[in-house]
Amino acid sequence: MTVIGQPLDISGVQPAPGAGGSGGSGGSPRREPVAAAARRRLSRPWATLTAIVLAALWTLPTFGLLVTSFRDSQAINTSGWWTALTGPFTLDNYRQVLDTSNTQSLAPFVVNSLVITVPSVVLPVFLATLAAYAFAWMRFRGRDILFVAVFALQVVPIQVTLIPLLQLFVGLKVAGSFWAVWLAHTAFGLPLAVFLLHNFMREIPGDIIEAARVDGAGHVTIFFRLMLPMLKPALAAFGIYQFLWVWNDLLVALTFAGSSNSVAPMTVALYNMTGTRGSQWYLLSAGAFVSILVPMVVFLSLQKYFVRGLLAGSIKG
């Protein structure tokens, strides 16, 4: 089996939270893999112990900072968070980082992250869907060479493009504006998007498109009436992928948005904070969780689509 280019059916792998599996009541007879059964008889206690230890190790760092974000700024620096699991807790740190009258407020950066992210997801997804449709179902001169070129551009690390692109933006007088960030994210997201959506599109039976063509439907009609509805899961998958990538990006934002609070996103604000306020954990912890909250919610609610996208496109880091 292959992971790339052939979206796997993972419907049973990662059910969305609440969709079962986590409750443990297990009313329905679950198909039990034989491997698991064999292992269970031999080493279940060890397996359980390993799972618990790893899960604890992986959760503790985040949990520690989460507890810290609700503690008094004095207390944070004089005792460990593990001594304060029962409180006292306060919302002061969050008030500080979100209060817009405060000079160190992160609120403008949250808005910037949102303003940066929405077009940076919508543009590449839509453009790539158009291109992928043409590559998959239209005949035109130079199609195959062009597709290989787009595929190959996936290997270009964005570092290689930053300085010349910045100079270009300076020339166009858009450096340090949202426009520069949107254009950069769109260009950087396109190769993977085209490649992934092309693969999804090839899965749609050609007969459907042929039938529509015979009925006299033009490509524009087919694209909007047939393709977009059928591609919803794929669009969601790549959309979430691109959303997380843009929301969590630091390098593109540092290069094209500058660090003023008029354009820079949360990641840049937090990065600056670690430099200037490296030991002010009451601000850093609350700030970090404000920035984590949005992707976390998106991620948990749309996990199924995200995993599907991951399984289909795991060639890109």
Binding site: L8, P33, L42, T50, P119, P295
Partner: protein, 325 residues
Amino acid sequence: MNVADKLLVMVAALLIFAVIIGLVLFVVALLEKRGARSVGWFFVGPTVLLLVVGLAYPAVRTVVRSLYNAAGTAFIGISNYTTIFTSGDMLVVLRNTVLWVVIAPFVATAVGLLYALVVDGARGEAAAKSLIFLPMAISFVGAGIIWKFMYEYKYFDPTLANNPRQIGLLNQVLVWLGLPPQQFLLNQPWNNMFLIMVMIWIQAGFAMTILSAAIKAIPLETTEAARLDGVNAVQLFRFITVPSIRPTLVVVLTTIAIGCLKVFDIVRTMTGGLYGTSVVANEFYTQSFTAGNQGLGAALAVILFVLVIPIIVYNIRQLRRAEAR
């Protein structure tokens, strides 16, 4: 700009985009009505334009730029590259990058595989997986802050009776064990390992998810037959599981390796590349934007580019072989 203005700019941008695309598609529809055959270029046009301007042209410019001096005024041949492969500081940068690319993929994949195996078919599997998977939603910057707090160090003097209490969990563990607290992010060369740990923490969930899907795709008959032959759990893993998921293992390892090559945010946030922890992607940023040596920065970017290629070629060849089978 206040909030309303920013949102307005965003809506305006989306509208402009919609109008442009609308016009293009309108023209395509008109042409099609008149019987035009090849309208494909209209569909790929915007993408191709953006890729040429945003990726291809800048990449070529950077390659050329890497052959010029710091200010970009004089052609100096391959001097920037000789600097990278001879100067002591740069060799440390290269060594660190090698450490990242070698250690993080293997450890993250091993942890991910182990976890995928131990929770496979267990009660509450989905919830257990979410715990490991969650770090993937956190930005590298956020992860850097989370781990910096884990590594936090408070002044410690072994000759004193009452030292300040440690607030970083790892140092507290050392204290509990009767060991002196460490400056995890300062002590070379081990500080690199503690940065790499953050990448492992993030990528293990990725490895776990993909490997788990691959393990579940192994046909039941295969494992059933092996079990009837009296194969034990370790043998099952060694002779059935690993060979079956080998192509997936390659994909996971290479994907994480590429991520490690380009790692920037973690190093930038946690140490800024100081104390001997810089890596190629971080050094590129430092040279280009703070040290003002754009020639050297460009050369580092090109090296990054060149290092990515063999990993991807290997990946594709492995996949081809797997598909041919």
